[in-house]
């Protein structure tokens, strides 16, 4: 065996990038028998240089760009980026647009969490959990498709508002979809979450203490599963969150099971929030007056009838003031995403810093896997809901 040198006790396992449970990364695990001595994540396999390309694209063109890395969670990142651009420009989206943004963000949170749960399922060997989660994800994708016109890459939020209004009959269909999801969760529970095998695999595995979670700057459900009730939607509410009633789901155990259950709890909270949003959605324009009045007059009727914005030409070349800087943070599905934009007065960002939740969770790989068993690597990996393209950008 090439890795087991003469007289060495340990074996170096290269897990990935072609490995059923590695995703788009490599885990270099040093194992002693069945116990992991050290695990080093080797990331960068999906490094597509988003921050550099952003410097060659205008502020609007960067929207699809920042959506690609966190592909399963585009809306929340889109929202974070657009908030930063709006702070640079000094624009504010009208209330209805804010509520629509929140709606899409919460829908996206549901399908992103289902994505994470499905991947976690397949990593534990439960193909049914994967198939169910990915099947039910389609429910939210279908609804989002009606709202935005795309399955997952929505590019729905633009500086100053959103691109489309609610299509007719959306609220009724959504209510049915939410009821369906609520009916399904107990079945998930029986076949996967409280399946004794799942519990044997997850309980007490990969425990992250509260202190370590804070010290390492972990984000999202992984943080809240360790008992830190930090959620940007509560800490610094944005969009329509100040007016919504929701709980920050936390657990105290900090193990893989807790991380999974926090996600399940958040799905329930998102369902509650979507109900509130659709019930209390304010009327009004969906694009800031500053840009709405620049829509060519011949399109005004079209926009009013279809609820689809026609871009005024100015959106193609937004120019924030020179030297302006903006920081925005949002609670994306996998955790807090931070955007930091620096303008030089030109139509393109001078520097776009995108700190995704997965990038901040990379540190957990080596931290949590020390002393675990080989079979726990996928169990812990899955529980982190780590998405390599998001970390590599």
């Amino acid at each position: 065996m090439s890795g087991a040198g003469s007289g060495e006790r340990t074996l170096e396992l290269l897990i990935g990038p072609q490995h059923p449970a590695s995703g788009h990364m490599r885990l270099v695990a040093e194992v002693d028998g069945d116990v992991v001595v050290r695990l080093r994540p080797d990331i960068g396999y999906v490094h597509r240089t988003v921050e550099k390309i952003a410097e060659t694209k205008t502020y609007l063109q960067t929207i699809p760009l920042i959506e690609r890395p966190p592909l399963a969670d585009t809306a929340n990142h889109n929202l974070g980026y657009v908030m930063a651009v709006e702070r640079l420009l000094g624009v504010e989206a009208p209330p209805r647009a804010q509520w629509l943004r929140t709606l899409l963000a919460e829908m996206n949170r549901i399908h992103s969490h289902l994505y994470g749960l499905g991947i976690h399922g397949i990593m534990l060997g439960s193909s049914t959990a994967f198939m169910w989660a990915f099947g039910d994800r389609e429910i939210m994708i279908e609804m989002a498709k009606r709202l935005t016109g795309a399955r997952i890459t929505y590019s729905y939020m633009i500086p100053g508002g959103v691109r489309r209004d609610l299509p007719p009959g959306f609220a009724e269909e959504m209510e049915k979809a939410l009821r369906y999801l609520e009916r399904r969760l107990p079945d998930y529970d029986r076949i996967f979450f409280s399946n004794p095998v799942t519990r044997a695999r997850l309980e007490g595995v990969g425990v992250l203490t509260r202190e370590d979670a804070i010290r390492l700057g972990v984000v999202g459900p992984n943080l809240r599963a360790s008992g830190v009730a930090y959620d940007v939607r509560r800490a610094r509410p944005y969009a329509a969150y100040p007016e919504l009633d929701f709980q920050v789901v936390t657990r105290s155990e900090g193990d893989s099971m807790a991380r999974m259950l926090v996600r399940v709890g958040e799905i329930r909270e998102s369902i509650r929030m979507i109900r509130q949003i659709l019930a209390r959605m304010p009327d009004g324009p969906i694009l800031a007056e500053r840009y709405a009045k620049m829509i060519p007059p011949k399109w005004r009727d079209y926009v009013r009838e279809t609820g689809r914005i026609k871009f005024p030409a100015i959106l193609a070349s937004l120019r924030p003031p020179k030297g302006a800087e903006a920081v925005s943070r949002v609670e994306a599905a996998r955790g807090e995403a931070v955007f930091y934009l620096v303008s030089d007065g030109g139509p393109r960002p001078y520097r776009m810093r995108m700190v995704t939740p997965s990038l901040r969770n990379v540190v957990l790989f080596s931290h949590l896997t020390r002393g675990c068993r080989v079979a726990d690597i996928p169990a812990i990996y899955g529980s982190l809901d780590y998405f390599p393209p998001e970390a590599d950008r």
């Binding site: 990038p17 072609q18 490995h19 059923p20 995703g23 788009h24 960068g44 396999y45 999906v46 490094h47 597509r48 240089t49 550099k52 390309i53 060659t56 699809p64 760009l65 690609r68 890395p69 592909l71 399963a72 994505y115 499905g118 994967f130 198939m131 169910w132 990915f134 099947g135 994800r137 389609e138 994708i141 399955r151 997952i152 890459t153 393209p389 590599d392």
Partner: protein, 174 residues
């Protein structure tokens, strides 16, 4: 290919003549038809996600679109698979792995590119860290979209099946 038979029980001319004999046998009409039918309905893509299109690839395998209907079963190791689906951007670091994985696969093998990034870079066309799969692998079918809809993935599977049926596939010739 690279992981061939040299250094094993079958070496040298014996190997070459055995291969020639096997090829001669396979090229006969009924054998060839049976082989192509088998391959056509047993395209197993290797579990190798190169980038974010993997999310839609998973959706294509998931219940709503269920690619397994075509005998398309994502499988774990390169040795057991015969199809490589480039799921999105191929970065330089990943390209190296992609070639490795491709060479580990037994012939006949096929390559499909999924998503704009895997064709001409898509929105990342000017990135300094990407590779266009068609430059390094014999890609047969391209699926546009960013990411492509699961239907488009199904469409590409059908297209590859047709190519195999018609004997046009380059994967069969190597």
């Amino acid at each position: 290919m690279v992981c061939g038979l040299s250094g094993t029980v079958l070496v040298g001319n014996l190997e070459r003549s055995a291969r020639r004999a096997a090829r001669w046998l396979v090229e006969r009409t009924p054998v060839r038809g049976i082989r192509d039918w088998g391959i056509k309905f047993s395209l197993w893509p290797v579990h190798f996600t190169t980038a974010c299109c993997g999310a839609e690839f998973a959706a294509a395998s998931a219940p709503r679109f269920d690619a397994e209907r075509f005998g398309f079963l994502p499988f774990v190791g390169p040795r057991q698979c015969n199809l490589m689906l480039i799921e999105g951007t191929l970065t330089r670091k990943m390209a190296e792995a992609a070639v490795w994985v491709y060479e580990q696969m037994p012939e006949p093998k096929f390559v499909m590119s999924m998503g704009a990034c895997a064709i001409d870079g898509g929105i990342f066309w000017n990135s300094y860290n990407i590779v266009r799969p068609k430059d390094i692998l014999p890609v047969e079918v391209f699926v546009p979209g960013c990411p492509p809809r699961p239907e488009a993935v199904a469409r590409s599977i059908i297209m590859l099946q047709k190519r195999i049926e018609r004997g046009e596939s380059v994967g069969l010739r190597v």
